[in-house]
Amino acid sequence: MNKTILEINNVDTYYGQIHALKNISFEVKEGEIVSLIGSNGAGKTTTLKTISSLLKPAKGEVILKEKVISRIPSHLVAEGGIAHVPEGRKIFPRMTVEENLEMGGFRFKDINKTKKNMDYAFELFPRLQERRKQKGGTLSGGEQQMLAMGRALMSEPSLLLLDEPSMGLAPLLVELIFQSIQKLNSEGITILLVEQNAHKALKIAHRGYVLQTGSIVLTGTGEELLQNNMVKEAYLG
């Protein structure tokens, strides 16, 4: 059995006044793709933000490789090896593609390492190389998603958090993004994926969790969840 890389233990998080996460517990093991599915407002984004410490849990803890990370600032969480691709990509709009990638590799001061990782990102998404001098804000939605993922990879993460990577993309691009997620996983990166596109997310996942109004209501392997009647009815339509 693989080692647990991330552990969420009895976490409660408030988003302003809203009690967004209620006593959530789950884990991600090394080398897995774990999908977190649920409808709008179920708490998926809040979960990722709690992991990367953009939100502080009111109770419970987040453990990364046996270290509690739920009360340290988010830049230290990032240094610990978590890369978070936020909802809506959050590209730096007035910085070029190259500069955006450089920021992703901010934790490395070594220019050669940054160069090597940038070449890797360009290899994964050749489109970014064509656009390297272009400002992030001028890219299309698909290109921005590639940039956001490339930027996250620049930090050589051991765990990649992806928040709705397929949102608003054309089917062909959705396909490309999901293929690259699988490719990254096959190269050894553990992935926690949040998606509204439940079908695709469960299809590539080793395991999945279903979130409903801030609580985890169901868990199983990707295949089991795809066959589950409740999941079929609620999320696969």
């Binding site: 936020p86 959050k90 450089e102 992703g104």
Partner: protein, 319 residues
């Protein structure tokens, strides 16, 4: 008309000198605004403290007899560097004690805090100088006395040449830093999206401190240049310069570093040309004392047509 064209070269020199000082002060406003979306109204007093620090260094060198022994440009450089370090540290300190604790509160709170810091610094300098020198006006030691004759009628004081050279070096290095250095880029990243920058392992608080260090350091350098150019400073000297530099920053596009430089230089030119030409153009009805009215009227007209400023980005609605 001939009278006016004859004045142009001289006005250009004066306008650029003043404009460079505005530009460097404006940078401090615009950098802090870019990163915190907050106007640091205490920046004018940081400029003033920098002017005092630089001038006191020059006075010390004068009384200790160094001023005659070392070349004047070197003395100026030493004064500027010490003033930059002093104001820079002051800026970082102010951010920690007066702004950081209220960062999550409405922007007005930080604004009030800044006004408080302004009054405090004015009175603190007045008190210290009063106790120390028994006067709070300082006359700056004369560093450069010669002028270069460019034509028979046009003289360029050596002082002005050094002020311009230093100002240009400062602006070019800042541009290089912000566009090429890893920390400069991180500064821009934090300005564009603080949360996302922190996801890139960027320590947002350190970057904010760095921004204050640089912005306030520039204020200190500008203060020293101002003191050398105009030869007299007092604890309230920051107010008018600060107001104008702030205006220059808005004029150029608040948050934009090239905008602050352009806005500062243009404002300096407008003001000096206004002072030179108003009397002639209006047949003596409006004199040079209306230079500010003239300069600000032009600014307002430009801002009506381009509210985001000359190089300002169009403000996107934040969701």
């Amino acid at each position: 008309m001939e009278e006016m064209t004859g004045m142009i070269p001289q006005l250009l020199i004066d306008g650029l000198t003043l404009g460079f000082v505005y530009a460097i002060v404006a940078l401090g406003y615009t950098m802090v605004y870019g990163i915190l979306e907050f106007i640091n109204f205490a920046h004018s007093e940081i400029f003033m403290v920098g002017a005092f620090a630089g001038t006191e260094v020059l006075l010390f060198m004068q009384s200790a007899g160094y001023l005659e022994k070392i070349p004047a440009p070197l003395a100026l450089l030493i004064a500027i560097i010490i003033a930059m370090v002093f104001s820079g540290a002051l800026g970082v300190f102010i951010e920690r004690v007066a702004y950081k604790p209220v960062r999550s509160a409405p922007k007005l709170v930080a604004f009030i805090s800044a006004i408080g810091v302004s009054f405090f610094l004015q009175d603190a300098v007045r008190l210290v100088e009063g106790l120390w020198k028994n006067a709070f006006y300082l006359s700056t030691p004369t560093l450069f006395t010669t002028s270069i004759n460019i034509t028979n009628t046009l003289k360029m004081p050596v002082k002005v040449i050094y002020i311009m050279i230093i100002a240009i070096i400062i602006m070019v290095s800042l541009n290089l830093f912000v566009n090429k250095h890893r920390l400069g880029k991180a500064m821009r990243a934090v300005a564009q999206d603080r949360d996302t920058a922190s996801l890139m392992a960027i320590n947002v608080n350190s970057i904010i401190s760095l921004t204050f260090l640089i912005g306030a350091g520039l204020g200190g350098a500008a203060g020293t240049l101002f003191s050398v150019q105009y030869a007299l400073i007092h604890p309230y000297v920051g107010f008018i310069i600060g107001m104008k530099a702030f205006t220059a920053a808005v004029f150029g596009g608040i948050g934009s570093i090239p905008g602050a430089m352009l806005g500062g230089i243009l404002l300096g030119l407008l003001e000096v040309f206004g002072a030179g030409f108003l009397g002639i153009l209006t047949n003596g009805v409006l004199g040079a004392e209306y230079k500010d009215v003239f300069a600000f009227a032009i600014l307002i007209i430009i801002l009506i047509f381009k509210p985001s400023g000359l190089l300002g980005k169009t403000v996107r609605e934040k969701v």
